[in-house]
């Protein structure tokens, strides 16, 4: 199952027969792309080159890297698939479970354990490989080639993970429980390692020449892999397949890559795509407009494909079916949607290679793009507005300044000032006071970690609340309540049919004491399905604009509005018995359609 209505058009093709022979089934990830068989074939080629071959690292090590990277991404599809693959390779279930739970404590050889710890760290963050990483790996006897292979395996995990999310592919096997992500708050980021791999500048290398046809030059993250020609060959085949596939045009695909690089903080890639787009006729101001649209929350600028790519890279966990519906509403064909997803996922693949291999940009980034890129880096995962808020309009600006200048005590003022509001948002999301208090702590810890990069594009309180919402939504997903967020239980076109239609008392608030009133309202709100409750809490209790509610929850504005309405009407139903006189003068009757 996936968002696209792909049945099994290509299921009897020789390509899929190969799967059936090897695995006994065709993974849903590839079935969902059946309209683009050449792309699927190239993806499999890359998977075979990077993972299925025994090179410096063993197949088992590489499969484990994929599993750990998938776990770090919290990608249910990939984790379930890897779990199965590793069992097919004869690795006992308890060991696979141990790797998922804590790879440093899974009874592995020290070199493999170190490699997997590195994978977990690297896949979780967006920062580059550090000198400390390289030193730890070298001490375990792992060569530069081994590190390069590990990075390629991380990249392919990200690639496949993005496709699975972009196309909404349901796992082939029962999803596995993932460890608590709260332990994953990143520690200090070491500075990037010195360049590990030097690019091959040999113009005669025919393999490298193939990349020039797509980019006008050989991107550093490809030429740095010149010692792994089997991987380069597979990468070039994938590029060829994507760019030859006839759904979207080349400009669209290069724009998608531009968006994926910008969202991934990939300066080198961004600089390259800037020149590719200009060489294809885009003006600098057109490119700047695209880039600023990608760093704003509003995505009504017409850059549908590019905004999709940016969201897939930046915040994949929040992408829902709405995105594919938006494509369909724009008249995009299945083939085009698959191409968009795969191209954006290729961008994600390159982003991992780029940060792993520490490639320096060939030419400096234009200042406008540099500025947008830096804002992006500072605001990862946080809603940002396109216009700067004047400091004097933000009541918290003095304390924010103080914290940014190293005065930790000033943060306590912010905690006391906003704690109750953050708590209210979280209890509305999570429905449980203990958990809300925990999540509130996480929210402030994250805010403290990132306040150095807070750029005042929104008020501090809005920024803080968006971190709170992210934290709450993340917890809902972890406890597998996420269907409630992503899919509304009854978003059919049926109109909501009111049942309680006795008139309410004129002044209902006088009927109860304040404490009773509060208890009645809290009970009513808690009785709502969480997908409605969340929207209602953010809009009606926290009074956020509906646009912020929608973007905070990864919903379209119309979906947010429709949930808000249902939430309000359901709450009205729940409260009615308390506020409508038992024997009212208005007889209860059904509303007629």
């Amino acid at each position: 199952m996936s968002y696209l209505g792909v049945g099994d058009p290509g299921l009897h093709s020789p390509l899929f027969s190969r799967f059936r022979e090897t695995f006994g089934f065709v993974p849903a990830l590839f079935r969902a792309q059946a309209v683009a068989p050449a792309i699927v074939e190239a993806e499999i080629g890359l998977l075979e080159a990077v993972v299925h071959s025994n090179t410096t690292l063993s197949r088992m090590q590489k499969e484990s890297i994929l599993l750990v990277a998938a776990t770090s991404q919290r990608n249910d599809y990939l984790v379930a698939g890897q779990y199965q693959s590793m069992q097919m390779l004869g690795i006992p279930e308890h060991q696979v479970d141990a790797i998922i739970a804590d790879c440093s404590n899974a009874d592995l050889k020290p070199a493999t354990a170190t490699l997997l710890e590195f994978t977990a760290r690297f896949s979780r963050g967006i920062h580059a490989v550090s000198n400390a990483d390289v030193q730890r790996l070298s001490e375990m006897g792992l060569s530069a080639e081994a590190i390069q292979e590990a990075i390629a395996a991380c990249a392919i995990a990200r690639f496949l993970g993005c496709i699975a999310i972009g196309l909404g592919v349901a796992p082939d096997f029962s999803p596995r429980a993932l460890p608590d992500a709260s332990a994953s708050i990143a520690g200090p980021v070491d500075s990037a390692a010195d360049a590990l791999f030097t690019a091959d500048r040999n113009d005669d290398n025919p393999l490298l020449a193939g990349f020039r046809t797509h980019f006008g030059c050989v991107p550093g993250w490809f030429s740095a892999q010149h010692q792994a020609p089997h991987i380069l060959t597979a990468e070039l085949r994938l590029l060829d397949a994507i760019f030859r596939s006839g759904g979207l045009n080349g400009m669209q695909k290069h724009s998608i890559l531009f968006a994926a690089f910008l969202a991934g903080g990939n300066a080198c890639g961004l600089s390259l795509q800037d020149s590719v787009l200009r060489s294809r006729g885009r003006t600098e101001s057109e490119i700047d407009r695209l880039a600023s649209s990608l760093t704003a929350t509003e995505d009504d600028s017409g850059f549908l494909l590019e905004n999709f790519a940016a969201r897939l890279i930046r915040d994949a966990a929040r992408l829902g079916r709405e995105q594919v519906e938006a494509f369909e509403a724009e008249g995009l064909r299945e083939e085009q949607i698959v191409e968009a997803v795969v191209t954006a996922s290729l961008g994600a693949y390159v982003n991992v290679l780029q940060s792993g291999l520490n490639i320096r940009a060939g030419s400096p980034l234009r200042p406008v793009l540099q500025a947008l890129l830096e804002n992006k880096l500072n605001l990862v995962g946080v809603t940002h507005r396109p216009t700067l808020i004047e400091p004097e309009s933000d009541a918290d600006s003095v304390e924010v300044d103080r914290v940014q200048n190293g005065d930790i005590d000033a943060f306590e003022i912010l905690v006391e000032r906003h704690g109750r509001r953050v708590y209210r948002t979280l209890i509305g999301l999570l429905g449980n006071a203990d958990e809300a208090r925990d999540a509130m702590q996480d929210t402030f810890l994250k805010a403290f970690q990132h306040i150095g990069g807070f750029q005042r594009r929104s008020k501090f309180s809005t920024w803080l609340l968006s971190i709170g919402t992210n934290t709450g939504v993340q917890r809902l997903r972890e406890r597998r309540d996420f269907e409630a967020i992503d899919e509304s239980p009854a978003e059919s076109s049926d109109f909501f049919r009111p049942r309680q239609i006795r008139a309410w008392a004129d002044d209902p608030e006088k009927l109860y004491s304040q404490a009773e009133m509060r208890a009645v309202v809290e009970k009513g709100i808690m009785s709502l399905p969480s997908s409605y409750r969340v929207v209602l809490m953010l809009r009606d209790i926290e009074q956020l604009p509906i646009e912020d509610v929608a973007s905070g929850l990864g919903l379209t504005i119309s979906a947010a509005k429709s949930r808000l309405l249902r939430g309000r009407l359901m709450l009205r139903e729940a409260l009615s018995p308390h506020f409508a006189p038992a024997e009212g003068s208005t007889p209860a009757k059904q509303v007629h359609a």
Binding site: Y423, L445, R497, P498, I501, D540, K561, L565, F579, Q590
Partner: protein, 80 residues
């Protein structure tokens, strides 16, 4: 004259004052004749007022203090 179902389809925007004048006129004509929808609009408005005023899910100040202290101690001693 619009039916209750048509009215309910617009009620969200109507409550938020976000319908065009033409549509608003039609909706209000419906309300003038439909007791049920009038009750729904009135009680939904009251619902919104109640939930805004009720202080729902408020964390009492005495409970905020220890949580704030815990957050600050985790910030000051991250290894704790």
């Amino acid at each position: 004259m619009i039916a209750c179902a048509d009215f309910m389809a617009e009620i969200g925007d109507y409550l938020d004052g976000a319908v065009a004048a033409e549509v608003r006129k039609q909706l209000e004509e419906h309300l003038a004749h439909c007791q049920s929808c009038t009750v729904v609009v009135d009680s939904t408005r009251k619902t919104l007022k109640i939930i805004t005023d009720a202080g729902s899910f408020d964390l009492p100040q005495p409970m905020l203090k220890p949580i704030a202290a815990e957050i600050m101690s985790r910030i000051r001693e991250p290894r704790k």
